[in-house]
């Protein structure tokens, strides 16, 4: 078992608690940086896709896992980010400007959506955001001069200072870099007053107010930030898709985003990454499984959504804290090996307010 001897307060503020963490995260960083040397084109593309999911996941996690507000409308932010970015590119705006502009636009839309959401929590908020998603989808389908309507629009290739980022290797590094920055920003947020205000609102609104936290402003900030991260992911996603059409962003996308943070583990940024890996690579795993398994299993229609659903149900029953929660328990068990108390996690309440009796 590791005992961390703290000798100054900076140790509680720093991102890494001890050298062990520095070593393992450094190793991970090295591994993902060197991955293009080993992996072929196809898997690089798949990993870039996982990173894009993770960027969107950071946004969803800030709102759902840290502020306790459930949204079923995040596919709309993904779509708005993608379309805004693609439209700006077609207008001749350079890539390095168009990404932040699309992100800022998403933050603005998120703020506006957050305003009516101030009085709603739980299932009511989920339905309201679902309605927003439908409205956004309708606008995208019908605003043909900008979005191309049902015919869709082609996304210009990403170029930075005359250098094309279209190949699998540059795009991999682009996604990885932006994911790194997103995680860094989210970690910073969570160790400063803004992030703690989110957590306060999640755990007790009355208490948060009596601590001087402005509920309305905090919730709107959470919505805006969440939309910004998701929109940022959307702008990258547009390049992966290559050709935007309304059916790329549906309610199912929103549900997948929510599923990602629940499976990964609510209330942890590591959970975002686990969830993104799960969501991004599972379809591939299923596709491989189809070839290996006997034909009559591989050809069952609806195998993929079925397996997704099954895994979600199993998680909700056996591990509501997600992959990250399970990992924390395993680590604690290893730490305290013969002395682990089975009841350690028995009394914890759920993160999502929908699951609470009020």
């Amino acid at each position: 078992m590791r005992f961390v001897l703290k000798t100054n307060y900076a140790q509680d503020v720093n991102l890494f608690l001890h050298n062990g963490q520095r070593f393992w995260y450094g190793l991970l960083a090295l591994a993902v940086l060197l991955a293009p040397l080993v992996l072929d084109r196809f898997y690089l593309g798949e990993f870039a896709f996982v990173y894009i999911w993770a960027i969107a996941g950071v946004g969803v996690m800030l709102l759902v896992g840290y502020t306790g507000l459930v949204s079923l409308g995040h596919a709309a932010f993904l779509a708005i980010g993608a379309y805004a970015h693609a439209w700006l590119l077609t207008q001749g705006v350079p890539f390095v400007l168009s990404v932040p502009l699309a992100t800022a636009f998403c933050a603005f839309v998120g703020y506006i959506v957050g305003l009516p959401a101030l009085r709603m929590t739980g299932i009511y908020l989920a339905i309201a955001t679902l309605a927003f998603e439908r409205i956004a989808a309708w606008v995208i389908e019908h605003w043909e001069s900008v979005t191309g309507g049902h015919f869709g629009m082609r996304v210009p290739d990403p170029t930075v200072f005359g250098m094309s980022l279209d190949g699998p290797v540059p795009f991999y590094y682009l996604c990885l870099g932006i994911l790194g920055l997103s995680l860094f920003a989210a970690l910073n947020l969570l160790r400063s007053p803004t992030g703690r205000a989110f957590i306060a609102v999640r755990d007790s609104e009355v208490s948060a107010e009596s601590m001087g936290i402005n509920l309305a402003r905090t919730k709107c900030t959470a919505f805006a930030l969440s939309a910004a991260f998701t929109g940022l992911a959307g702008s990258l996603l547009s390049h992966r898709i290559g050709y935007l059409a309304p059916d790329a962003f549906t309610v199912q996308t929103s549900i997948q985003l929510l599923l990602m943070v629940v499976v990964g583990g609510l209330g942890s940024l590591q959970g975002v990454v686990y969830g993104a890996i799960f969501l991004g690579l599972l379809p591939q795993a299923i596709a491989i499984g189809r070839d290996v398994l006997p034909q009559w299993i591989g050809e069952i229609p609806g195998l993929e959504p079925g397996i997704f659903g099954l895994i979600l149900v199993l998680f909700l029953i056996f591990e509501p804290l997600g992959i990250h929660g399970r990992w924390v328990k395993i680590r604690l068990w290893l730490d305290q090996f013969p002395l682990y108390r089975r009841a350690t996690y028995k009394r914890q309440r759920s993160y999502l307010r929908t699951e609470r009796v009020r």
């Binding site: 007053p193 703690r196 957590i199 306060a200 755990d203 107010e209 601590m211 001087g212 509920l215 350690t344």
Partner: protein
């Protein structure tokens, strides 16, 4: 001048008049207790002061500022902190994070500096961290520092809540039944801590309490209530022997 003044406060829920024309004042540096049978409207008064309930009539001033219409988060910014009857802590977080959240009113950073964690944000975090440690020292919470609230016994949660309120560095501290759920030993410790808070930190305390022993030990003045109305205000022994108060508790 009084630190806090309430003038003719009234509030009703449907047909029930929870608080009827209650006036009182809290002087700087004193411990002011509100007692009364269950349902007398004691906690309701605290919720009016915290601005969780809208007053039907009457006014409240804190340090000369009218707070009758202030939004709830403004109350903490002005310097009034409170605890809750059944503890309202941030369940999933550690004691340390709970106390850090209470520093929100003292924040000097904004969203952008927080996102980038600029040197100013780091300095602020270190300052907060140091100030939290002073409160932990004062209330002897060292052994709980890194524990999540969910793993704490009830008595410790009560103390963490008081610690969290102190982290706001308030001028007026509202304690809603601080001794409920504590054993006699913990209650005795509490009375020492309340005296320390007033004497060392210079914080004025107003509390709702049932334990007459605690009230008599620490209070300078006591207000007795029944059925939403104030019966009498005075020093503890005076109130304990007041005929109206005895009638409210024991009947005719």
């Amino acid at each position: 001048m009084s630190l806090f003044e309430a003038h003719d406060l009234s509030v009703s829920f449907g047909g029930i008049k929870a608080v009827r024309d209650v006036s009182f004042s809290v002087e700087p540096g004193e411990v002011f207790s509100i007692i009364g049978p269950n349902g007398a409207g004691k906690t309701t008064i605290f919720n009016l002061v915290s601005r969780f309930y809208e007053t039907d009539s009457g006014t409240m001033t804190f340090d000369g500022v009218d707070i009758t219409g202030a939004p709830p988060h403004r109350i903490a910014e002005l310097g009034i902190a409170r605890t809750f009857q059944n503890t309202e802590l941030f369940e999933h977080e550690t004691v340390l994070t709970n106390l850090l959240i209470a520093h929100h009113v003292h924040r000097r950073t904004n969203l952008v500096t927080d996102l980038l964690f600029l040197p100013g944000a780091r300095r602020q975090e270190l300052d907060f961290r140091r100030q939290v440690e002073d409160v932990i020292d004062l209330l002897d919470l060292q052994s709980y520092r890194e524990q999540p609230i969910g793993a704490l016994p009830y008595g410790a949660r009560k103390m963490v809540e008081i610690a969290r309120a102190l982290c706001l560095e308030p001028r007026l501290l509202l304690l809603d039944e601080p001794s409920s759920g504590l054993n006699p030993e913990e209650t005795e410790d509490l009375s020492f801590w309340i005296e320390d808070i007033v004497a060392d930190l210079g914080i004025t305390v107003a509390m709702v309490e049932h334990d007459m022993n605690l009230v008599a030990t620490v209070s300078d003045r006591v207000m007795a209530m029944a059925d939403g109305a104030a019966l009498a205000t005075g020093d503890p022994t005076e109130i304990q022997n007041h005929p109206d108060v005895l009638r409210a508790y024991l009947g005719d």
